[in-house]
């Protein structure tokens, strides 16, 4: 299989619509991430691709074969995909080898071939030495790699990953992130990856589908999503951002909450707007549009996380760590703005940012 086509897929549990008209084509060899807050419907989408849930409406195709839709429904075991579960789901009554060999045993692969393939895939996930261990004798990270090996051993063209790293500690999470990406590129398979962790999504994906309350908010490459968010929610969910209500005019946006100061603006919006500025897009300068007082700063090593009082607002500014030594708490400062996102103010900002289902 090369592509996954999802056409207007809607899923409802009773009256509760968890996913609305999801439309997408996942191309060959693509690393797709379904990103969103918990309960947004991303796992449901993944489970529909796997065949654990039936779409209420819409169709799913693998290449041009219909797998879900209308009266057609191919059960999970006939879809030939690999999947890693959040809980790993490593079977406690089988050792590592048996766990990984399972998909091949099901397919009646000859014994000798099973052995070769399991060894190969265990080598890929660095578990060769643990083949005879029982899952209870493995750490979380190792169990996770057993699950990954089991998903890969039958050489599926499509690999589904359901928050596979969320139960690991920070260090391991980071290294697994690159390992998974590397394996995907080496094997040239499609991956659909579900996570609520934006850093994971940014680091691994070719394309990200950002979902909230069952609706895709934006889809695009990590850069597109980060730099040109389609709406306030996207801007807020990826990275850190402060919103200011303001008035866009020719060449500037006036922001009452910042003591009525204005920020230079070259865009096309006019009238009431939401201006969104990421903390790292502020910078301290001698000659900037915003004047305020440095109220607090937290030294985090690589960066300096500051709070600057401007008018009635307390603005977050992240600047390089080295600034810590040059600035004094309580001093008057001037801020420049590197980049600003401006959205028309439709009065729904609070509602949009609210993460709930």
């Amino acid at each position: 299989m090369a592509t996954v086509t999802i056409q207007k897929v809607t899923k409802a549990f009773g009256d509760n619509v968890v996913l609305r008209e999801f439309d997408a084509v996942f191309g060959e060899g693509e690393f797709i991430t379904l990103l969103g807050p918990s309960g947004c419907g991303k796992t449901t989408m993944l489970r529909m691709i796997a065949g654990f849930e039936r779409p209420t409406e819409g169709e799913i195709y693998f290449d041009d074969m219909l797998v879900s839709g209308g009266r057609t429904f191919v059960p999970p075991e006939k879809r030939g995909v690999g999947m890693v579960f959040q809980s790993y789901a490593v079977w406690p009554h089988m050792d590592v080898f048996e766990n990984v060999a399972y998909p091949l045993t099901i397919r009646h692969t000859p014994k000798s071939e099973i052995k070769a393939r399991v060894e190969k895939v265990l080598a890929i996930v660095h578990l060769s030495r643990y083949a005879e261990r029982l899952p209870s004798q493995l750490s979380g990270g190792q169990q996770q790699r057993v699950a990954l090996a089991r998903a890969l051993v039958a050489e599926p063209k499509l690999l589904l990953l359901d928050e596979p790293l969320s139960n690991l500690d920070a260090k391991l999470r980071e290294s697994m992130r690159f390992e998974i990406k590397e394996i995907q590129q080496k094997l040239g398979i499609n991956v659909v990856y579900v996570t609520h962790d934006q850093t994971e999504a940014m680091a691994m994906s070719d394309r990200i589908f950002l979902i909230n309350r069952g609706v895709v908010q934006q889809c695009g490459t990590p850069e597109e999503i980060y730099n040109t968010p389609a709406n306030q929610f996207v801007a807020d969910f990826l990275g850190k951002v402060d919103f200011f209500k303001g008035e866009a005019r020719d060449g500037e946006v006036v922001i009452p909450a910042l003591g009525g100061q204005s920020i230079p603006y070259a865009g096309a919006q006019r009238g009431k707007v939401d201006a969104a500025i990421r903390p790292e897009n502020f910078y301290f300068t001698a000659d900037g549009p915003l004047h305020g007082t440095l109220e607090r700063q937290y030294y985090l090593g690589d960066v300096d996380d500051c709070r600057v009082r401007i008018g009635e607002s307390l603005v977050r500014v992240i600047t390089n760590g080295f600034a810590f030594r040059t600035l004094k708490t309580g001093a008057a400062v001037t801020l420049g703005v590197r980049d600003m996102m401006v959205f028309p103010d439709d009065g729904l900002l609070e509602q949009m940012l609210e993460i709930s289902t």
Partner: protein, 829 residues
């Protein structure tokens, strides 16, 4: 999309129509059955009318043969025809005569001899033949004369006619006098019979109604013949049973059909899917089984108790509960159950805490020991305590008398009293509370207790401020479990209470049942008390469990830090050991020692009092071997069927979100909360053919009773095992390419196998030694080992029954060992 919608809606419409049809069919059956019952009630059936009605039926049957029979009869030579008529009339006369005498068997034999198994048919043919052949026909004028008589007069006429047939000297009624003029013998009888038939066959409303009723109620031919045969035996009540039974069966069947249709419609409407799902079929199968064998008996008993004559009346209840013996029984039951609950819980909590949360010596050993009591049949304990505390020869009493230098008068302790019964009940039911509480204690997050210690509370203070309040829900549910078990116990009160005239409701019920029909009625009235009490308890425990569920703790297996007992460690261990010796070791040792005695009154060590013959004799007897075989067989079947149901219910509960999945669970819980004696009594009342099912006196009725009572134990085990297996374990097998079947076989099956095995044994063991229900349900061929033991104890020999009791204990322990091995030590009871 539209297209799909339309075809789906068409299919949905078809399903809806099918459900409606099913419902209507059910409703129709109910109405039909009700009409049958009403018509039967209005028809005023009696022996004579039944006989006539069946004759009518027979004539209709005969009419079908008419085409072949009549020509054949006409071609007979005159002599033969006369002979046939003579034989027929004689046959008729004799059968009527014997019917009149009430010697039904003779009539039956007569009918039998006529032509073997086809006797009834033949006699009907003969009746008709006599009608066709016997002498000159009645003239139209004669006919008119006879049919002119209606109602009372006609009935009188017919009685007189029959009397005249039977006795040549009897006066012939006026209307028929012309018929018999100048006629004698067979010819006279034949004319009279003809007159009788003409009168009876005249479309007289009451007769025809009766005939129609019978025809409606008894549709198939086999049943008609049965009815005929019963009437020939003069068993009108049996006909009533048959007729009403048919109507009742129709009502029951209709109710089940309609209920199923409604339930399915409700499920489908709830899910918005109008498609038949196999899971619903499974749910309905289990629900119907339970409705039929569990709920129907309960409801029927309630109705019988409150509507004794078809009308609401509390007369029976009033009569029963004002009778002093019964009143005492109710009092005793309440007192015994309450005291047992109080003492049992007071024992269970400290024991559970010491064994579960402290560094007591030999905790594991004690835990195993206390749980072991759980699988000992209670009546075995009763036997042991009887040997120990008998006021005259009880071992303890003799020691006490020697020790305290008392006279040889009976006492000082007497087991044949209410306190004696409470003592034995407590020593056998405290494990129920112990198990409930210690399970909750194992699951409790120890950091809760640790937080209290850090805050400055002593270990003891922590017990009272944190552990006890946290354990309260499980403590209460354990206490209620003890209460229900004690109040519905039959074995202990029957062994200890009966000789001391300490009656309980259960022993009264069993006594009533042994009195026959009226007794059965009164037993029902008594059972209502137990039933209501059980419902109240179930409700209470439900409230307790629903309201206070905060004890459920972190799902991860926590290794609780143990409370150090310090200088109390040794004294407390000694105390627990003493308890174990008194409550467990001494009784079991008594049973074992008694089994080697010749004279139960003497010590086993006294000269010439030791023998192995009790063991040899008792296990060599065929009746013992047979009852042992029965027990093993019934318990295995109950456990196997039970575990299949348990697995299905668990799967539906844990792995599907289908509507209605909780219904079987609810019914099963209700069943296990119903007192054993009530279950058995209900089955007796409803499963002897009056609802179309007759399994009375068979093994089935016992197996079903065991299932209803013990299914829940097996089910809970499997449900909790399945809930601990994350769904993703199964899903990852599916995604690996394994279908449902293979996933169950390779993944789910092996993972929950220990629990399935444990569940099987949890149903098997109590069924194996069951006594309360068996006492009511056994028949001569279905005696079980528990009942055999009880009989031996009461009627034969105490040492022999002790040998048997110890044999049962050994078997149960062996089974436990097998279970332990089978599940790699994960489970034992």
């Amino acid at each position: 999309m539209r297209k799909i919608d339309r075809s789906q809606s068409r299919a949905a419409l078809a399903v809806k129509a099918l459900l409606l049809a099913l419902f209507l069919l059910g409703a129709g059956l109910i109405l039909n059955g009700r009409r049958g019952m009403r018509e039967y009630a209005a028809s005023g059936f009696s022996a004579e009318s039944a006989y006539r009605a069946v004759y009518q039926l027979g004539r209709e049957t005969a009419r079908a043969w008419d085409k072949t029979l009549a020509p054949a009869l006409k071609t007979l030579p005159d002599a033969d025809r006369d002979r046939l008529a003579e034989t027929t009339a004689a046959l008729l006369r004799e059968s009527w005569e014997s019917l009149q005498k009430g010697g039904g068997a003779e009539a039956d034999a007569l009918l039998q001899t006529a032509d073997g198994a086809a006797g009834e048919e033949l006699s009907q043919k003969l009746l008709y033949a006599s009608y066709l052949t016997a002498g000159p026909k009645l003239s139209t004028a004669n006919r008119k004369q006879i049919t002119a008589q209606t109602g009372e007069a006609a009935a009188e006429l017919r009685t007189a006619l029959l009397a005249a047939v039977l006795d040549e000297k009897a006066e012939v009624p006026e209307a028929a006098q012309k018929l018999t003029e100048k006629r004698t013998g067979t010819e006279r009888a034949a004319m009279l019979m003809q007159a009788y038939y003409v009168s009876a066959g005249a479309s007289e409303p009451d007769v025809m109604e009766q005939v129609n009723t019978l025809k409606k109620s008894v549709r198939d031919k086999a049943a008609q013949l049965t009815a005929f045969r019963m009437i020939a035996r003069g068993e009108v009540s049996a006909v009533e049973q048959l007729v009403v039974g048919h109507s009742r069966t129709a009502i029951l069947l209709g109710a089940i059909l309609a209920f199923n249709a409604l339930l399915l419609a409700f499920f489908m409407a709830g899910e918005g899917v109008w498609r038949l799902n196999l899971k619903w079929v499974l749910i309905l199968l289990i629900v119907d089984f339970l409705l039929l064998f569990q709920l129907l008996p309960l409801v029927y008993m309630l109705i019988r108790a409150l509507f004794p004559e078809g009308r609401f009346s509390l007369e029976t209840i009033r009569r029963l509960y004002t009778y002093s013996l019964n009143l005492d029984a109710v009092k005793n039951t309440l007192i015994a159950a309450t005291m047992t609950m109080a003492f049992g819980t007071l024992l269970a909590f400290p024991l559970a805490w010491l064994v579960g949360r402290t560094d007591l010596y030999g905790k594991k050993f004690f835990r195993g020991l206390f749980v072991l009591t759980y699988m000992v049949p209670p009546y075995v304990g009763a036997m042991a305590w009887l040997r120990l505390l008998n006021p005259n020869v009880g071992t303890v009493n003799r020691w006490l008398r020697a020790l305290l230098r008392l006279s040889d008068a009976p006492g000082p302790l007497n087991v044949y009293t209410l306190p004696g019964m409470v003592w034995v009940l407590t020593s056998f039911y405290y494990p129920y509370a112990f198990i409930t509480v210690s399970r909750a204690m194992e699951k409790m997050d120890p950091s809760l207790e640790e937080a209290s210690r850090v805050s400055g509370a002593s270990p003891l203070k922590t017990v009272f401020t944190v552990t006890l309040p946290m354990m309260l829900p499980s403590l209460i549910s354990g206490a209620l479990l003890v209460f229900v078990s004690a109040m519905s116990c039959y074995g202990i009160p029957s062994i200890i209470g009966s000789p001391g005239r300490v009656h309980t409701v259960t022993t009264r019920i069993v006594e009533y049942v042994s009195l026959g029909q009226q007794g059965l009625h009164d037993a029902t009235g008594m059972a209502v008390f137990l039933m209501l009490l059980a419902v109240v308890i179930l409700f209470l425990s439900d409230v307790v469990l629903a309201r206070r569920q905060y004890i459920t703790v972190s799902g991860k297996s926590v290794r609780p830090a143990l409370v150090e007992l310090g200088r109390w460690r040794l004294p407390l261990t000694a105390l627990v050991s003493l308890f174990a010796v008194v409550v467990i070791l001494i009784p079991f040792a008594t049973i074992l020692l008694t089994s080697f005695k010749i004279d139960v009154g003497k010590s086993v060590l006294s000269a010439g009092n030791f023998t192995l013959s009790n063991w040899k004799t008792v296990f060599a007897r065929t009746e013992t071997v047979n009852s042992l075989k029965n027990s093993l067989l019934f318990a295995s079947v109950a456990a196997t069927v039970g575990i299949l149901i348990a697995c299905t219910v668990s799967y539906l509960l844990q792995r599907t979100r289908i509507r209605g999945r909780k219904l079987p669970d609810f019914l099963i819980t209700l069943g296990s909360g119903t007192p054993s004696v009530v279950i058995a009594l209900g089955l007796i009342m409803t499963m002897k053919g009056n609802f179309g099912i007759n399994i009375y006196n068979t093994a089935y009725i016992m197996i079903i009773a065991y299932l209803i009572k013990y299914l829940m134990m097996g089910m809970r085990t499997v449900v909790s095992a399945m809930s601990q297996i994350h769904v993703s374990l199964e899903e990852s097998s599916q995604i690996s390419g394994a279908g449902w079947g293979r996933t169950m076989r390779r993944i789910t099956g092996p993972l929950i196998f220990p629990s399935i095995a444990a569940g099987w044994f949890l149903i098997f063991i109590p069924s194996f030694y069951e006594l309360s229900m068996t006492t009511l349900l056994y028949s001569s061929t279905t005696k079980t080992i528990g009942f055999q033991l009880y009989e031996y104890w009461t009627f034969t020999s105490q040492p022999m029954s002790c040998a048997m009791a110890f044999g049962i204990l050994l078997i149960v322990m062996l089974l436990n060992l097998i279970l332990n091995r089978l599940t790699k030590g994960e489970f034992s009871i």
